[in-house]
Amino acid sequence: MVENKVVAMLLAGGQGSRLKALTRKIAKPAVPFGGKYRIIDFALSNATNSRISDIGILTQYKPFQLNTHIGIGQAWDYDRNVGGLRVLPPFTSEDGGRWYTGTANAIFENIDYLDELNPQYVLILSGDHIYKMDYRQLLKEHQEKGADVTISVIEVPWEEAPRFGIINTDQDNKIVEFDEKPKNPKNNMASMGIYMFNWVELRKYLIKDSKNPNSEHDFGKNVLPDMLNDGKKMYSWNFKGYWKDVGTIRSYWEANMDLIDPDNELNMYDKDWRIYTRNRNLPPHYLSRSSKVRNSLINEGCTVKGEVRNSVFFSDIYIEKGAKINNSVVLSDSIVEAGAEVNNAIILEGVTVKKGDKIGEEGDGNIYVVTKKGFTIE
């Protein structure tokens, strides 16, 4: 008998419109990150490493690549006889079909799934963030406090606090107020969009929220404040460590560059907390006699004959002799031809940078997004 059963619900339907060309064909959680991963791999691997046995993945926006990537969850050990992974897209029923209209609504629409599993706790996750977290610690805190909801929070720089949902607590971390994107924040503890609920309570409030015509059916805006009004026991839990919401082109580029920073907090080489992903079965990469690779991450299948500095490479990339890449993120299957120079760029999948092309200057402060049709400046 498994006690303290937790079911994770991973919200993976986000469009991530501010990532522009990166999310033209795929949902934000499917965006490649860090040389061989996709953003969703972090939340999925955290769940696996936290020994969560059931996980539902809520998809909506352009799900094809995401579905292919996840498959039956084999890469994360979610292909199980008992429990495992379910992809939960929107569906039709007697009263017609509906899209998921908000984060809370997405969970509400899948009440049947959760009822069947009948968990004690439901853990709400988002597939948009880069971080490593042991959800068992969150659960422990939740149980010790006897809470109805525990929200994971992180300290953000004061000047960035107005972009986040800020959570005000008393000295015992009991939540007293939600401050969604405040102009004058009272503190700098931001919600990470990771919630541990008692399923019995969450269920009640999801049904209540679904009947409210004025609700946006969002956890942060509607369900959580409603529970607070009713005096439910809500606590925050301070997470310490690397956490990044790669919401924009610039933050995407920066988060990739963090990985080659010597002071990087996100240790990818920790074998006790592996990040898992689907494997492409490519051979090792090859650096030729003429290559010069400095302070960079290189993945399988690449052939480098040119110069690469401060860059993150995905798989199966070909850099010809005499080409120069600086401060760039290069996605899979791209080619940079001889004599081309690329600075501060994100080169998308399958792009060829032609002979003699020059993109960006070192230290010009711009980020260039290179697509098959040319490049744009951020």
Partner: protein, 375 residues
């Protein structure tokens, strides 16, 4: 390749294990790490699977621990099937049973009888090549052969392939016999340990060999009963590596630094599958200098690397110099160490400031998990 079983046997490879020094102390030859992230047998199994063979049986030999760990249920090769899939046959140990390839095949008659497939592709996994089996198989079927032996024409001025099996053929390229190359000819037809047979014929030969008690290996049985069967040959024209001693193994690894060879082995016959390790990308530091090397994932490289094959999870420290070497999984070269012409087995390490130099004609081998230190 429908209607065909894939069979992997060691032939007489078990007798060669002593040629590999400490590398084969605890592993069979076919489990030797190769090409940065593979084992030799990965190429054989992938080649079978990429040709549509869905039943693969491996006769593992005695040292089965690494085999079990690596092959498991065959998932990396999509051989974890409800029907067919991967079969592992460790040797049976009872006092009455004979040893050797023939006895092992004979002990699995049920497997052959239960399989619906009528043909068999049998490979010794110490030959490495991306052989287009589709063509060989089509020819085998078309000519209604009892068996087809696959060979490669080898020019061998240096006597590198002495003691390899050779096919003796008459003027019309008809098969006559299997002999051993003693280096007396400029060019010879090297038998590359791949054979297509009718299942019926294989079982007949195996039973006869058991009854007559003459042959231990399939090769010997084929020689003994060659007149009773219709034997054809098929010439493979691509690149082949023969891994039968330490030097060959070392050279075959470093040959992958040639683009033509790595392209052919890694890509021409479809992907090479292996057990994945979920390592992150490899990090090259500001001071790293890497030339002409094949590097797998999960490494942290801070020193100089030239003409090397670097496996998954290797660490090379600051100011360390590594040349013409093979660094297997999770091996470590500490700061300021120098490593030349060396094979480092898994989990071994070279201490700070230490110099290790092998001979270019015979590499130095650092045993598995061994830590060499200066004092």
């Amino acid at each position: 390749m429908e209607n065909c079983l894939g069979i992997i046997t060691m032939g007489s490879m078990d007798k060669q294990e002593s040629n590999f020094g400490p590398l084969c102390k605890k592993r069979p030859i076919y489990m030797l790490p190769f090409g940065g992230r593979y084992r030799l047998i990965d190429f054989t199994i992938s080649n079978m699977v990429n040709h549509g063979i869905s039943t693969v049986a491996v006769y593992t030999g005695d040292k089965i621990r690494s085999t079990m760990d690596h092959l498991g249920n065959g998932k990396p090769w999509d051989l974890n099937r409800r029907f067919n899939g991967l079969f592992l046959y460790p040797p049976l140990h009872n006092s009455s049973s004979r040893k050797g390839e023939i006895a092992e095949l004979y002990s699995t008659l049920d497997f052959f009888n239960n399989a619906k497939d009528e043909n068999v592709l049998l490979i010794h996994p110490n030959y490495l090549g991306s052989v287009n089996l589709k063509e060989a198989y089509a020819e085998f079927i078309e000519k209604d052969s009892d068996m087809t032996l696959i060979y490669k024409k080898k020019v061998d001025p240096w006597g590198q392939y002495v003691n390899c099996d050779k096919l003796i053929m008459d003027k019309n390229n008809k098969f006559k016999n299997i002999g051993i190359n003693l280096g007396t000819e400029q060019e010879f037809n090297m038998y590359i340990g791949m054979i297509l047979l009718k299942k019926k014929v294989l079982l007949e030969i195996v039973k006869k060999a058991i009854e007559d008690g003459e042959s231990t290996y399939l090769k010997e049985a084929i020689i003994a009963y060659k007149h009773e069967y219709k034997i054809n040959t098929y010439e493979f024209k691509g690149h082949i590596e023969v891994i039968n001693d330490l030097k060959n193994f070392y050279d075959a690894n470093l040959n992958l630094l040639s683009k033509e060879i790595s392209q052919e082995l890694f890509f021409s016959g479809g992907p090479v599958f292996t057990k994945t390790k979920d390592e992150p990308s490899t990090f090259y530091s500001e001071d790293s200098q890497v030339y002409n090397s094949l590097v797998a994932n999960g490494c942290i490289i801070e020193g100089t690397v030239e003409n090397c094959i670097v496996f998954r999870g290797v660490k090379i420290g600051k100011n360390a110099i590594v040349k013409n070497s093979i660094l297997m999984q999770k091996s470590v070269v500490h700061d300021n160490a120098i490593v030349v012409n060396t094979i480092m087995d898994k989990y071994s390490s070279i201490g700070e400031g230490l110099r290790i130099t092998g001979n270019s004609s015979m590499p130095y081998v650092v045993e598995k998990s061994k830590e060499l230190r200066k004092d």
